[in-house]
Amino acid sequence: MRSLLAMAALRRHGARTVLAVLGVAVAAAMLLCMVMLSAGLRESFRELLLSRGFQLRLSPRGTLPFDTEATITGATEISRVLRTLPDVTTVSAVLGGQLHVERGGESITSFALGVNPAAQGDYELLSGRDALAPDAMVVNDAFLEATGVQVGDTLDVAAGYNPQLRSYSGERRLVVSGRARFLYLAAGQSAVALRIGTLQAMTGRARNDEVSLFMLRLKDGADVEAVRRWIQGHVPRVDAISTAEAMQRVDERLSYFRQLGFILGAVSLIVGFLLVTTLVTVSVNERVGEIAVMRAMGISRAHVVQQILLEGLAISLAGAVMGLGLGLVTARYLNSILSAFPGLPAAIDFFLFQPRSAWTALGLLVIVGIAAGIYPSWRAATLPIATALHEEAVA
């Protein structure tokens, strides 16, 4: 009977109930977006870092991977040292640079990765063959589109370009052996991957045996932190960064979004709370006579409270369900805006949907719905019956 009364009370003023549900839905959508924002970026980045199974990254000391143009010299010696560690199964050295291709009188610049194709974690081969030969390279779709070449074509490429003199340095003739998807690059960014030795020679970095980054894959169950500490202590020219630490550093860089997510999420909850509590309070005020009669009849305070709380909860739940769809659409839209961040890997999502996010948002809204009904239900339950009836009669 209580739920029947609660639903009937909401249906009695349909327009106002619909508006309140709509208001809660918008608040719920915003809340869901913010919950997704708080967790999404972190989770998305973590998934990306672990996608190829590399748990440690070594960058020039004092920098983050590819954050600056600094390099690590003596790469071969460092690789040898790293391979002596029993927990290390794979050492992947990576050199970053640029590659220039002249097409139709224009110079097209692409991001270039020098890797060991047998032990790399930067791209997934989609078609063709990997860049196993010294004169081979794999490229992404953006490169193919920009240059108009196809897999199998041979190109003259250069590591250096002087735009004023229109002259190239570090030139080579390379074959486009395959098509790949680069995991850490921004959408639309043109990229190639070739053997690290080739890129070192083209960029003049062979002399000092320079690389930009090492990626390490460890054995299952290995103590990542112990390996990290050992490297940090024994290889002075590098900073060893675990996935957790990389995430923490990215968190710090993008902490603004997490904090924004928290603040806006809290504001959404407050708005939802105010809306529901106002609606239910007004509804109770209009039904003072009815409530007083129910109490006179012998309906207990607890049951009056339950009925009022049910009204608030019903609005919150209905709004939450509607807000779920709205939230997903909004998150997609906001994600499309933030995905345009320069340099952000295309695989990163700021708003990542996880069922946990939906449950968290729903749980919060349920709590808010119940809390919003507390004041009006307390008012209803503590009505002095005789006084309320008298005031109703006078009114």
Partner: protein, 245 residues
């Protein structure tokens, strides 16, 4: 005859606003009502009739005095006990009916039974029976807005009888009804009393008052005199209220 209600020296004061005048609504009223009795309380506006009824119905607490209903000392009960006592022992009928507009006539009658834990099937059956008793068996599924004033009041009476109360209290039950409809309600009250229901009615309606066996006159918060109606001194036995105590 068994004593059903005993009130001794009841007092109730109200303060008008903060720091305002104190109104002595009920001043030392003592009253006894026997089981099966029909008592009307009459008096001018502001004489304390409704205030007294609220005290007798345990929806307001006296500032002083004692009240015993069906052997229980009412002023000693906690709020929860009081609520439960009202649910099972007292039925209320108000001037403004106070039916829940979102429920049908039958659902309104079922409401107290649902609160008392009666099963759905049983309360439906009893609600139908009560509505038949008050002559509204064809209006079960109508909402209050679809009923006339008299019909609404009859539904309210059926609701008040739902849990077989020992005592039925009515505050100006014909106050919002036209004369003809009011007579129907008076007849219904007479029938209820004939079937064994103990009634205390507050009224301005002479017809309703004259139907009572005893009329209590109040003025300025006190009982000034009581009279037993010569016409209603005896009991008629014209038919029982469905399963009434």
């Amino acid at each position: 005859m068994t004593l059903l209600l005993g009130a001794r020296n009841l007092r109730r004061d109200y303060q008008l606003g903060r720091g305002g005048e104190v109104v002595h609504a009920v001043r030392g009223v003592s009253l006894e009502v026997e089981q099966g009795e029909y008592v009307a309380i009459v008096g001018p506006s502001g004489s304390g009739k409704s205030s007294l009824l609220n005290l007798l119905g345990a929806i307001d607490t006296p500032d002083q005095g004692e009240l015993t209903i069906a052997g229980r000392r009412i002023e000693k009960l906690s709020d929860r006990e009081l609520t439960d006592f009202r649910l099972r022992n007292i039925g209320f009928v108000f001037q403004r009916f106070y039916l829940l507009p979102v429920l049908t006539a039958r659902e309104n009658v079922e409401l107290p039974m649902a609160e008392a834990g009666v099963s759905r099937a049983d309360r439906r059956a009893r609600a139908s029976e009560l509505l038949r008793y008050v002559g509204l068996e064809r209006r079960e599924r109508h909402r209050p807005t679809q009923l006339s004033g008299g019909e609404q009041q009859r539904v309210a009476i059926a609701r008040a009888l739902a849990n077989r109360p020992a005592l039925l209290l009515a505050d100006e039950p014909t106050g919002e009804l036209d004369a003809r409809t009011g007579e129907e309600i008076i007849a219904l009250f007479e029938r209820l009393n004939s079937d064994g229901t103990t009634l205390i009615v507050v009224t301005h309606d002479e017809g309703l008052a004259s139907a009572a066996r005893r009329v209590v006159h109040m003025k300025d918060g006190a009982i000034v005199h009581q009279e037993v109606s010569r016409v209603r001194a005896g009991n008629d036995d014209t038919g029982a209220v469905p399963s009434q105590k």
